[in-house]
Amino acid sequence: MTLLQSMGNFLEELEFKEVAPVAPAAKLRLLDTVGCIVFSASLPYVRQMSREFVTSSGPYGVMGHAGGTSSVGDSAFLHGFMVYAYELAGTGAWGGSTGSIVPAAISATQYLAARDDSRISGRDFLRAFVGAAEIQMRLAEWVGFATERYVGWHTPAFHGAVGASAVTAALMGLDATTSAHAMAIAADMAGGGLIHSRNNSKRAHMGRTPASGILSAILARDGLEGGLDVLEDPRWGYRRTLLYGTESLTDVPGNPLDGLGSRFDALSKVSVKYYPFHSAAQSILDNMAELHRQRPELTVSDVASITVGLSTFMFEHGAMLKPAASLADTNFSFPYAAALGFVFEPRRLSEDGASARLFLDGYSNPDVASLQQRVRCESSDVLDAENPYTMDTTLRVDLVDGNTISTRTSFGEASRARGKGAIEFGAQGDEAILTKFDNLTVPALGETRARELREAILNLDALEDVTDVWRIAYVDVKSISTGDPR
């Protein structure tokens, strides 16, 4: 039996009662992802792009838009793009996140309703979601870090497609073999996505993963087959190809099926962001917050330079070491994160009173523009020794008076306990996730509709038709005006 056949069996046999213990966590992850989508719908570059896909008569609704797309693939692509459009989606374990699964699941339920008049209940949705998350996380951990660390592929663009096909297959009720074929086709169509890329390229290739997943499941349902040994084939398989040349540089778990069906821990490995930045920048902003606690009186004119210490892996993301040059890459620029943190002392989005759009507005602030030019990044041996995948950072601020202030985050200690691939920044409890959701959705949807959406997701397991949830958000949100639509 191949890996995919085992995974197909798992999906077919999985029952809601098995996932019920993690259903609350699943609903919060869904809530967090939907919040990201809704806020992103108001971003100028998203609205610019969606004009190409959304029409008033499109049957597949798009969150944050009054119209819809004419194709289910386009719906999945747009929702996937929006999940990542403000760099706020959950992240973890080299591509084990659920950012591809959710948009695929949303679009798959739209597709089933439109084509077959088939309604997916909240329980069935959660069963499929958790099952797909377990498969994708195990796949991600099995392939491991080396593909990103040394080779250069952005692994979420690969594993996400398999996760997206798994959730679609489960929602369609495909049998074990057909589900395995869906995942095989997805594994073969997966990918595209370079670790080098930032801004819209990354968003676009992440939009492709749910679209690939949906397509793969539909193809499999219609009787087309893929090679079921595509994952583990020792000569040309998925893992071997992704890891080629790094075999001596990495150690990865041997069996992705370990604990599948008895241990549901994938969601616990997905970390929730609280700043709209790349993972490493969460801790840059946290360091800045600590700096302000120590020296609240400092102003931009007091700063001679700022040095951010990163793991070598992060430091090699050359494109992210540059100051932000357009609105679209503010989410990926470490200098911008440091400068914005210093100038605005922004609250985490998981805190009351935080403003999501502050991170956009900061781009036109002259102090931020000036200060980000004084930020430099360097690789840190200390961080590398702790964990080459850590998202912890160090911060040193050299003041014009000759003094220096240093601080660092130490979130990584928790990740060592949760597995090598776990990404850690400040832990977000249930209330924090709910607050982040409110901060993202209320400005976009208004208080009433945002609350309705939140309650619907939190009560998902009682719903007969999950498309009723998505429909709440099928309204046009206003584009945030920034003067820079890119």
Binding site: S70, D188, L194, G227, T241, Y244, G245, R486
Partner: protein
């Protein structure tokens, strides 16, 4: 200036009416692509998604009257071009299924906007895209397929699709460079391991990626432009990584990608046009089988063993070493190719009265099934020495009377001089051959009369003030081939 910018500048530098524009070359390939698509649209399994993707309005698909979104229409036409493993191969790419569908959709979008798209503009955009795709493919080279496992056409084709669509959408240099960069980052997916249905969708995805990338760029969405050559994490480096640790790789010969662009056209010398619906190496296997039958094996029933020698690279395609189990994997099974050649000695598709549909039904032939189980594949070291990427093969057959018969192809010797390291060579098809192949394929789908109309339109396309007539002709419903409904790759 980044490579994406160089590519965009080079693509735009080809004059609208260029003396050097290889009209004959691009028209040959366009005829071939449309013929493949027409036949593909008659195969039931290739239309598996049509009802899912169809919508009341939108953009047309070759061989169908339905309408789809831009990405879906490009995808579906791409599926059809690659559906029967008959499309162009060479230089580590199969550009037809990536470029032609993206170009067709972009042309429709322009026409819908009220703009004119001349036949010459269409030919120019597709010719430029073919040429640049081959150049990018040669820049990346053979390594990803030979050792690592990526099916590189699933990557490079997206860049070609974006270029063709971007040119027809009349993107300026900045936006065209972004389209290339988007495509490079969204490209890929595709393992060399795959055969059967999975492979068929690789190229279709590149067409979809190409049109999507051009549309993103047209909407003003920006992206990083150094994605191709970045020495640490770029397109070429990631695809060719083979254990350098943290060290950046060299960027290859960047200048060669665009050098002489617009005056020196390499693509046509690199690409082989198939005449059997099989993987590239299956062309020569069939040639060998047909030759052995012509040279003295009167009855296939007398054959007791058959051995096919290939390069190591082809021999390592373990999925292709197995007998075919159904229509979906028949095009990729080398034992099946050998059995069809030996049992049926079929006329190639460029011959008069070749029966294209036969290749879709022969999988049920008892003698073919018997023979394919006899076939042994082995590495031929002589072929490896000549060219590790050659598609030449050697076939040795033993008959009941104890005699041994041997035949090998030698197309590669010409490939080495004309085709570069990645040139795929089998028998060369002339203009008449390609027209006959088209007719043999398209007539199955559309009937002789309509097939002839389409052929005439393509052959005179540079004189057409608009491509709208050709588009109308292409969006004509094809017939379904009876008995070609299997989709399975496993029993």
């Amino acid at each position: 200036m980044t490579l994406a910018q160089d590519i965009a500048r080079g693509a735009l530098s080809v004059p609208p009416v260029a003396a050097s524009l290889p009209l004959a070359g691009i028209k040959r390939h366009l005829v071939d692509a449309i013929g493949c698509a027409a036949f593909g649209s008659a195969l039931p399994y290739a239309s598996a998604l049509v009802s899912d993707l169809a919508r009341p309005t939108g953009f047309g698909v070759i061989g169908k009257t339905v309408r789809m979104s831009p990405g879906d229409a490009a995808f579906q036409s791409g599926v059809y071009i690659g559906a029967f493993e008959l499309d162009t191969a060479g230089a580590f790419v199969h550009p037809a299924a990536s470029i032609v569908p993206a170009a067709l959709v972009a042309a429709q979008m322009r026409l819908e906007d009220g703009a004119a798209v001349s036949g010459e503009a269409f030919l120019r955009a597709t010719a430029v895209a073919y040429e640049m795709t081959v150049r990018v493919a040669e820049w990346v080279g053979f390594l990803p397929e030979r050792y690592i496992g990526w099916h590189t056409p699933a990557f490079h084709g997206a860049i070609g699709g974006a270029l063709a669509a971007g040119l027809l959408l009349e993107l300026d240099e900045v936006h065209l460079a972004r389209a290339v960069a988007f495509a490079a980052d969204m490209a890929g997916g595709g393992l060399i391991h795959a055969r059967g249905n999975a492979k068929r969708f690789h190229q279709a995805r590149t067409a979809q990626t190409g049109i999507t990338s051009a549309l993103l760029a047209a909407r003003g969405i920006e992206c990083g432009l150094d994605v191709l050559e970045d020495p640490r994490w770029g397109y070429r480096r990631a695809m060719t990584y083979s254990g350098e640790g943290d060290a950046p790789t060299d960027q290859g010969d960047l200048e060669a990608v665009t050098a002489g662009f617009g005056s020196e056209w390499r693509a046509w010398a690199r690409l082989g046009i198939k005449y059997y619906p099989f993987h590239a190496s299956g062309q020569t296997i069939l040639d060998n089988g047909v030759a052995l039958r012509a040279e003295g094996i009167a009855r296939s029933e007398d054959i007791v063993s058959a051995t096919v020698g290939t390069t190591t690279f082809i021999r390592e395609h373990d999925q292709m070493l197995k007998p075919a189990t159904g229509l979906a994997d028949a095009n990729f099974s080398l034992p099946y190719a050998a059995a069809v050649g030996l049992a049926l000695a079929p006329a190639p598709l460029n011959a008069e009265r070749s029966d294209a549909a036969m290749f879709a039904t022969a999988v049920d032939d008892p003698e073919v099934q018997r023979l394919q189980r006899l076939v042994i594949l082995e590495v031929d070291s002589e072929l490896d020495r000549e060219n590790s990427y050659t598609m030449d093969t050697v076939m040795t057959v033993r008959t009941r009377d104890g005699q041994t018969h041997r035949h090998r192809t030698d197309y590669g010797s010409r490939g080495r001089s004309e085709g570069g390291a990645g040139g795929v060579r089998f028998a060369e098809l002339g203009d008449d051959d390609i027209s006959r192949k088209f007719s043999n394929l398209a007539a199955v789908a559309w009937g002789d009369e309509h097939a002839n109309r389409v052929l005439a339109s393509v052959l005179s396309l540079e004189q057409a003030s608009s491509v709208d007539e050709l588009l109308d002709q292409l969006h004509t419903e094809s017939r379904t081939i009876p008995g070609a409904g299997a989709t399975k790759t496993t029993p």
